[in-house]
Every structure is written in C-alpha cells, then in structure tokens.
C-alpha cells in the first residue's frame, strides 16, 4: 500500500466512524447521555439490509433491490431508535446519568442477544452492493480505488453537509440546538423538548443504519457483535473531536480513521487499536475537552 492508498482507505473508514460519531454526539449534546446501544443499532441496520436484500427476513417478503433494502434498513432503524428512546430512556429523563448509562448498556445487551437468537452467530457475508458494470474497483490515475470507498466518502460528505445545514437553518435543527443549550429555557420558548429528543434519536439511528451498510460493504463479515468495536471507536472519535459538537464528531471520525489505517500500514497491525487510543489520550491531555469542544468553565 502506498501513502495515497492508505490515505484514501483511512478517509473512507474515518467517514464511517464520523457518521456513527454524529449519532453519539447529537444524542449526547441533547440528552447528556452516552448511548452505548448506538453501536448495536448499526448491527441491526446491517442485518435488516442483508435480509431484505437476500429475502430471508420473513418468509412472505420478496427479495428487494439493494437501494430499497438500504432504505428499509434506515426506516427500521429510525423507528427502532425512537422506540428505544421511548421505552428505555424516556422514563429516566430526570434520573442520574449513570443510571441511564447502565440502561443503555442493558439495551445494547438486549439488541445483541436478540440478534443472536433471530439471526444466529454464524457470520453472514455481506453482499457487495457497490459494483458498477461488474467491477468493484475503479482505476483513477494509476490508483485502484473500490467503489465502496468512493460511495462511502461521497455519502458521508453529503450527510455532513446536510446535517450541518439542517441544524443551522431548519426550525427542528434550531430546536435541537436550543435543547442542547438549555432544556428549561427551550421549553419556555415553546419548543417541545420530548419530541425534539425523539427526533434526535431518530436521526442518529437512521445514520447508524447507513453506517452499518457502509461498514459491512467495506468489511463484509456480519455477526451480532459487528457493531461493538466500531461503536466504541466512533464514541472515541466523538470525544476526540469534543463530545456534543457536530463538526467535532466529523473531524474526530476522519482523523481516527486515518490514524488507524496509517498505524496499521506503517507501525503495527496488532497494535493499531492501542495506537489509536494512545493518540486520543495525548490529545485529551493537551485539549481536555477534545479538539473542537468548548472549554468547561467552573463557577464557584
């Protein structure tokens, strides 16, 4: 692998981390909770997409074309995210944050074990959706780049731009930012806080489904624990960029992906995880609230 190859696969992996990290950071910003079940929503999204595509989700359902399968996965995950929020997190809105954290872990166990029962632990080989004219790779100026990589980068760029525009200009987006700033004040201004939180979970989970499809297209082994490690890394990416900050999550995700691929290519494959986490620690020591996080002011 030369340096450009590494850079491109780093950006591609980083884009996936960024999409997942967006889900973490938005939920953290608005609900002040670490949603540990987020990684497992990715896995559910990938499974739904896999089974709607191959036609094995329910016996009466026909196999559908890939883009419809992705769309169905996004819709299912969006609903799943809202359902999880409604059933497990909403009753704990005023509870201490650790209690909510443990509940999120409970949800994560639940999703993993439900997937284990429904879809067994046999690894599924995820189909490659992104081949055009029978090719999975494209030659660009002497570089062989897979279509998955290109699609991943384009899709995440679109998502990032769209999400930035959405949170900056749309009414719902503004409501989300208001809620993450001050829930009480937002409520006094006539914003429905519960609905806004629900929408945030919906968007985050929908993004998770897309991330799941992209992740499994690039690394095609699908098992019930597929989402855990990318989930933890994306969470790290969100903290890396400053948790609660949307541009921070994008930057953190991209950097983390590039660092991971580079340390795999040039330092050591086995220790790449350790290197990624070591970089995180160094960054947090220099900037204790992440790259783009707001400094915390303490008042006495």
């Amino acid at each position: 692998m030369n340096i450009f190859d590494s850079l491109i696969s780093g950006i591609s992996l980083g884009s996936i981390y960024a999409i997942i990290a967006l889900g973490y950071t938005m939920v953290y910003g608005i609900a002040k909770m670490l949603n540990f079940a987020h990684g497992d929503v990715i896995m559910v999204g990938a499974y739904i997409c896999f089974y709607t595509f191959t036609g094995g989700l329910m016996s009466f359902l026909p196999a559908v074309p890939p883009y419809a399968a992705i769309l169905i996965a996004v819709v299912v995950c969006t609903l799943l995210g809202m359902l999880i929020e409604r059933l497990a997190y909403k009753p704990l809105r005023t509870a201490p944050s650790l209690a909510v954290l443990i509940t999120a872990i409970g949800v994560s166990y639940f999703l993993q074990n439900a997937a284990l029962l429904l879809w067994t632990s046999n690894p599924k080989v995820f189909p490659s959706f992104f081949n055009f004219g029978g090719n999975t790779n494209i030659e660009l100026g002497g570089l062989r780049i897979s279509y998955v990589t290109i699609v991943t980068i384009i899709v995440s760029a679109v998502i990032m731009v769209a999400l930035t525009l959405f949170t900056s200009y749309s009414k719902t987006g503004k409501a989300m930012r208001a809620c993450s700033e001050d829930k009480g004040a937002a409520q006094l201004m006539g914003i429905n806080v519960n609905t806004t939180i629900s929408i945030t979970f919906a968007i985050g989970s929908g993004l998770a489904a897309i991330a799941g499809v992209l992740l499994c297209s690039a690394y095609p082994t699908l098992v019930p624990t597929t989402g855990s490690m990318p989930g933890i890394k994306a969470f790290t990416a969100a903290v890396f960029g400053g948790i609660g900050s949307i541009p921070g999550a994008m930057l953190g995700g991209l950097l983390l992906g590039v660092i991971e691929i580079f340390s795999k290519a040039y330092i050591s494959t086995q220790l790449s995880d350790a290197i990624v986490f070591a970089v995180l620690i160094v960054v947090l020591l220099v900037k204790p609230t992440g790259l783009l996080g707001k400094p915390i002011r303490e008042k006495v």
Partner: protein, 346 residues
C-alpha cells in the same frame, strides 16, 4: 459525632457479618450436594465481588467514572499467574504461592494504576471515563501481543516471540494467553480476599484520607479551597482501587486453566460497573450482593435456555427504570410512608 461513628460501625459490621454468614452457608452447601456448575462459580463470584468493591471505591467514594477497570484485572491476572507459574518449583505450597501471586498482581496493577492515574486524573467527567476506556483497550492490546517466558530469569518480548524460548514453553503466548495453569484459587482464598478488601476500604473511608476523598467527590472546589491536595487523594483512591482489582484478577486467573487478554475487555469493565451502579454507589454491601446475584443470574435463568441473556438484559433495564423513575419511585415511597403512618396510628 459518636452517633455517626456508631452508625458507620454498625453498617460495616452488618456487611462483614453478611459476608461471613454467606461464606459459611455456601461452604456447608458445597460440602452437601451443591451442583458442580454452581461450585465452579464460587471463585469467579468472589473475584467479581472484589472487582465491584474496588470499582465502587473509584465510582462511589472518589466519584469518578471508570470504564476500564477490567484492564487492572487483566494486569493482575497476567502478572499474578505468571508469578505463580514461575514460582511453581521454588514454592510448593499452593496457598502461599497464591498469596504471593496476589501480592504480585496487586503490586503490578497498582503501578499500572499510578501510571494511568497521572494523565487520567487531570481530566473531568466523561472525558476521564473515555480515557480509562482507552487505557483498558491499550492494556488488552499489549497483553494480546506479549510473549513472556521463564528460564531462571524472565524473558519478555512484544509482537513476536523473540525470547529464545520455544513457543510451547512460554508462559504468556501472545494472543493464546497463558495456558496450562495449575488451578490454585480456592473459595476460602476468595473469601479471605473479600474480607481483606472490605477491611482496606472501610478503614480508608473512615480515615482522614477517606474523608478528604469524599470531600473531593462532593465539591472539588470547596475541598481544594480548604487545602486538600486534589491529586494526592485522587491518586490514593485510584491506586488502591487498581491494586484490589489486580488481586481479584490473580484470583480469577488462577481459577482457570487458560487466561486470554480478550476475557478482560470493555464488556467486562461494563459488567463490573453494572454491579456497582445496581448495588448503589458508595454502598459496599450493595456491590457485594449485586455482583453475586448478577453472576449467578444467568445460571438461574438456565431454564430460559437460549433466551437467558435476553431475559438478563430485560431484567437489567427494568431494574434501572424501577429504581430510578421518579413516578414509580414516588409511588413506592408513598406506599411505604402510608404503611408506616398506619402502623403509627395503631
């Protein structure tokens, strides 16, 4: 003041008593027809109880969230087990070797805790939590790629076996971990470790240092302004917590024939955190009960067969909602206060 001391003493005595009584009962039961699967769980339960107690020192008493506690368990398991295997010839007595291994495990975990504490304790809240998670993962990666052999002296190498010892004669064999361990952990040793842990924690909490640590938890700025050195006391709690986790790790490691680094991953850290939160932060008896109950729960749920982990997850979510939802909590408080009023009237 005297009343307060008495109250603490009473609750500590209850905790000791519960541990001793359960030990005696379980010991009697294991002599008289306890199922072998349950018998095999006695030592892991002890190890998890000590893990929960030690994490409770960080989370409940110091008030900092740690998501990498399994890392210290890992350090203890690997160093302690290595020590036990290296000393197999020179110290024939199992009990003594186990005790020395635990001290070694605790010592190395304490060193790891100190080194990790230097950067970690500068951070706050969720950032601190994520860095402990990162350290847990780093420790896991290192032990997955570590090769250690013993031929009179310790030979250590990272990434590939360059110790000059044949692969099969190594103690720690990279991703394969440690194999061929002589199981020397016993339930009695586990019980002794739990009692020692309780003595250490209760004495720390009731000491001047313990009060300083709790003052930092309750209001760091106020504590700092009356001259409590923040770093010193945070470090004290963190290192003691790590050392206890290391001893628990050794106990755990020497109970199995193989130990691999992947056993002590993020999920294990989370599992221990679940014990602490469910048992109540800062409440040692709660941690003990939660750790024991949740370790046995999957065994009890065996009749659900494949569904047991699903049921486990649902139980976990429901318990958190029932103990923390203000409406449900309020309902129970009203119910109980009514009962008490009724009792008083009669």
């Amino acid at each position: 003041m005297k009343l307060l001391t008495n109250k603490t003493t009473r609750s500590n005595t209850i905790t000791y008593a519960v541990v001793v009584i359960s030990f005696v009962l379980l010991q009697l039961w294991s002599g008289a027809g306890m199922s072998s699967s349950l018998k095999g769980m006695l030592v892991p339960i002890c190890a998890y109880v000590v893990m929960a107690l030690s994490l409770n020192l960080t989370v409940g008493v110091l008030g900092e969230l740690s998501l990498g506690h399994a890392g210290f368990m890992s350090v203890g398991a690997f160093t302690g087990t290595t020590a036990a295997m290296a000393l197999a010839q020179s110290i024939p007595s199992d009990g003594l070797r186990l005790a020395i291994a635990m001290v070694v495990g605790a010592l190395f975990a304490a060193i790891a805790g100190f080194l990790i504490g230097i950067p970690v304790l500068r951070l706050r809240g969720d950032y601190l939590a994520i860095v402990t998670l990162a350290f847990g993962e780093i420790i896991k990666s290192i032990f997955t790629n570590l090769y250690v052999g013993f031929d009179g002296g310790l030979r250590v190498s990272l990434l590939s076996n360059q110790t000059g010892i044949a692969d099969n004669d190594l103690i720690i064999r990279g991703p394969m971990g440690i194999g061929g361990i002589t199981k020397i952990s016993t339930f009695v040793a586990g019980f002794v470790l739990i009692m020692l842990t309780l003595i250490v924690i209760f004495n720390l909490v009731n000491s001047r240092s313990g009060r300083a640590i709790m003052a930092l938890r309750d209001n760091r700025i106020a504590a700092e302004s009356v001259g409590i050195p923040v770093t010193k006391y945070k470090m004290m709690a963190f290192v003691i917590s790590a050392a206890l986790a290391g001893a628990a790790g050794t106990l755990f490691g020497l109970n199995y024939s193989t130990v691999v680094a992947n056993k002590f991953d993020f999920n294990t850290s989370i599992l221990i955190l679940v014990f602490v939160v469910l048992g109540g932060q800062g409440r040692m008896l709660g941690s003990i009960i939660a750790a024991a109950a949740l370790t046995i729960l999957p065994e009890v749920l065996r009749e659900f067969a494949d569904y047991r982990m699903l049921v486990y997850a649902i139980v976990l979510i429901l318990v958190m909602i029932f103990t923390n939802n203000p409406t449900i909590k309020g309902f129970f408080t009203r119910l109980f206060s009514k009962k008490q009023e009724g009792g008083a009237n009669q």
